[in-house]
């Protein structure tokens, strides 16, 4: 078992009278892909800045690769890659000059710049044009290229897919899964949850500066106990009555189609009851709760306890 690459313990950050982050603790293991999810202004960017050592916590400690990132000779930053939210560059320089500048600062060999441009999908012709002429997507790709300089062990990506079209988004997640298998720890923040499904090992939900949920998607689903929606369409021969199944409240949606919300622990037995006579069932849909519903649940639950 390797030591965690990032450790936050009891971290709080206050800006004047505003508490951006309150008592947050978590660890990121090596090779994990973690999604940091929350509304705009929930404290995601502040957490990332704390991990980069750009700001110091008011309370608690931040450890990145065993060091305090805000202290010392910034050696730890050599092994970090960061993509800021809505990244911007010096407009007058070309993409190639921009990347060369950052590569020099990170003491990275510049011989493989072509490969890097190719990986993020920036054409060589575009790399020689001034950044001024770039579209949002191209700028984002250049941003990703600079974050990948020097094969960092930890990648901190703040809203990496905002402004990308669906094709680029898919491209981006392919890149991320490639990095994940290479053992890179990736933290990406987002407020678009549905696109994260199946792409992260773990989700941390932040609201008003507090980490309100932390775990794998399965674990979070278990905690939330959100009902699974089952809809059944009965075959022609069967009677037009709701399927049997004890304590379930079936609702008629359309002719012969019934829907029910079932608790996770009853799911299997109800499915067995419904499918007891295969000939009677024309169609069956089982819809697990989506990430958006999960997210709404955690935010809602938080609101109620107040």
């Amino acid at each position: 078992m390797t030591a965690p690459t990032v450790t936050l313990s009891g971290v709080a950050k206050r800006y004047g009278r505003i508490e951006a982050v309150k008592n947050v603790s978590f660890e990121l293991e090596q090779g994990q892909t973690v999604a940091l999810v929350g509304h705009n202004g929930a404290g995601k960017t502040t957490l990332i800045k704390l991990m980069l050592g750009l700001i110091r916590p008011t309370q608690g400690t931040v450890q990145v690769l065993g060091e305090d990132p805000a202290r010392g000779d910034f050696a730890v930053r050599q092994r970090l890659g960061y993509l800021p939210e809505s990244v911007s560059f010096h407009m007058a320089l070309t993409g190639r000059e921009t990347l060369a500048f950052y590569a020099r600062l990170k003491r990275v060999d510049m011989s493989d710049m072509e490969g890097l441009f190719e990986r993020v999908g920036l054409a060589p012709a575009a790399a020689d044009r001034p950044v001024r002429t770039y579209s949002k997507g191209m700028r984002q790709r250049l941003g990703l290229a600079q974050a990948l300089l020097g094969a960092p062990r930890i990648l901190l990506l703040d809203e990496p897919t905002s402004g990308l079209d669906p094709a680029l988004r898919r491209n981006f997640y392919e890149l991320v899964s490639g990095l994940r298998s290479a053992g890179t720890t990736i933290l990406l923040s987002s407020h678009a949850l549905t696109e994260l499904e199946d792409r992260t090992d773990r989700v941390i939900i932040v609201n008003e500066g507090v980490a309100i949920a932390d775990g794998t998607l399965e674990k979070l689903r278990g905690i939330a106990r959100l009902p699974t929606r089952i809809s059944v369409t009965l075959a022609d021969g069967a009677g037009i009555t709701a399927p049997s199944g004890g304590q379930v409240a079936w609702k008629a949606i359309r002719d012969r189609t019934f829907e029910a919300e079932v608790a996770p622990e009853n799911k299997i037995s109800i499915l067995r009851d419904v499918t007891a006579d295969p000939a009677a069932v024309a169609a069956l849909h089982v819809v697990e709760p989506t990430l958006d519903e999960l997210y709404a649940h955690f935010l809602g639950g938080r609101g109620m306890t107040r």
Partner: protein
């Protein structure tokens, strides 16, 4: 150390790309050429070394123009990058804020030095090519004038960084920079003149005059270039120079202090700024 050079190189690259270097060099060269040929016409051939005339007129030009160029270059340096969002990425790299400020300073200094050297240099070269005889002493005075002009530029680059580190918006930094320029170039001397008039001819204690002249970097520059030798006689500033206890090295030291103090202040403000 290396990081400073990397940042300086990027600043120069940007200066070349957005035509800052070209524009300032051309502007200084055009004005210098105009002054050296039109300005020397009335003096005719009365035995005054022509290059000395050029030194006097170029020094007066420098006092207005070089601080303005320096402030225009510098006021954007920190707040501009913060506002555009490039600073956030830069400080996430293994580079200290001190290295960022020094690197920018070195880059801006190089741009300004290039413009001054080549802009003013063309005037001297043109004068030499038209067959004017120029003494060795005049050449040295001319070189000293260029060197001190660059020194004056450095002062205002450093002051520009202070306004840039203080402001939260570019427009604020620009406004403060214009205010600083007006104060040092126009208002300060007018106020000083007013005070002398109000004193009704009573001589100021010479120590006070020295302090007042050193408290404004443009006055220190003026005295340095116009206060002695041929130039002193031509500009009429030799009179004041005779009354102060300030000599060349002291004036240079004052200018250096005027560079170091604002630069240290800008660094202090920038280091404490949270992004």
């Amino acid at each position: 150390m290396n990081n400073i050079l990397i940042v300086a190189r990027k600043e120069i690259q940007e200066g070349l790309r957005n035509r800052w270097v070209l524009a300032t060099t051309l502007l200084l060269a055009a004005l210098a050429l105009t002054l050296s040929f039109l300005g020397s016409a009335p003096t005719g051939n009365v035995g005054v070394n022509q290059l000395d005339v050029v030194i006097v007129s170029l020094s007066s030009l420098t006092i207005f123009l070089v601080p303005l160029i320096a402030l225009l270059l510098a006021h954007d340096a920190i707040v501009g990058e913060v506002e555009r969002g490039t600073m956030l990425l830069l400080i996430s790299y293994p580079i200290s804020r001190r290295q960022i400020v020094f690197g920018k300073f070195l880059g801006h200094l190089a741009i300004l030095a290039f413009a001054t050297l080549f802009g003013y240099g063309t005037a001297a070269a043109a004068l030499a090519m038209t067959g004017t005889e120029i003494g060795l002493a005049s050449w040295w005075a001319f070189l000293a004038m260029i060197a001190s002009s660059i020194l004056l530029g450095m002062v205002f680059i450093a002051i520009g960084y202070v306004t840039s580190a203080l402001s939260s918006e570019r427009s604020t930094a620009g406004g403060i920079a214009i205010g600083v320029w007006l104060f040092f170039v126009l208002i300060y001397d007018m106020a000083l003149l007013g005070a002398l008039v109000a004193a009704e001819g009573r001589p100021l204690p010479s120590g006070l005059l020295d302090v007042l002249l050193v408290l404004n970097p443009t006055d220190a520059y003026r005295l340095l270039n116009l206060g002695s030798g041929e130039a002193g006689a031509l500009s009429g500033l030799g009179g004041i120079a005779g009354h102060t206890g300030l000599n060349g090295p002291m004036l240079v030291a004052a200018l250096v202090a005027w560079i170091a103090a604002p630069l240290a202040l800008a660094l202090r403000i920038f280091s404490r700024r949270e992004l």
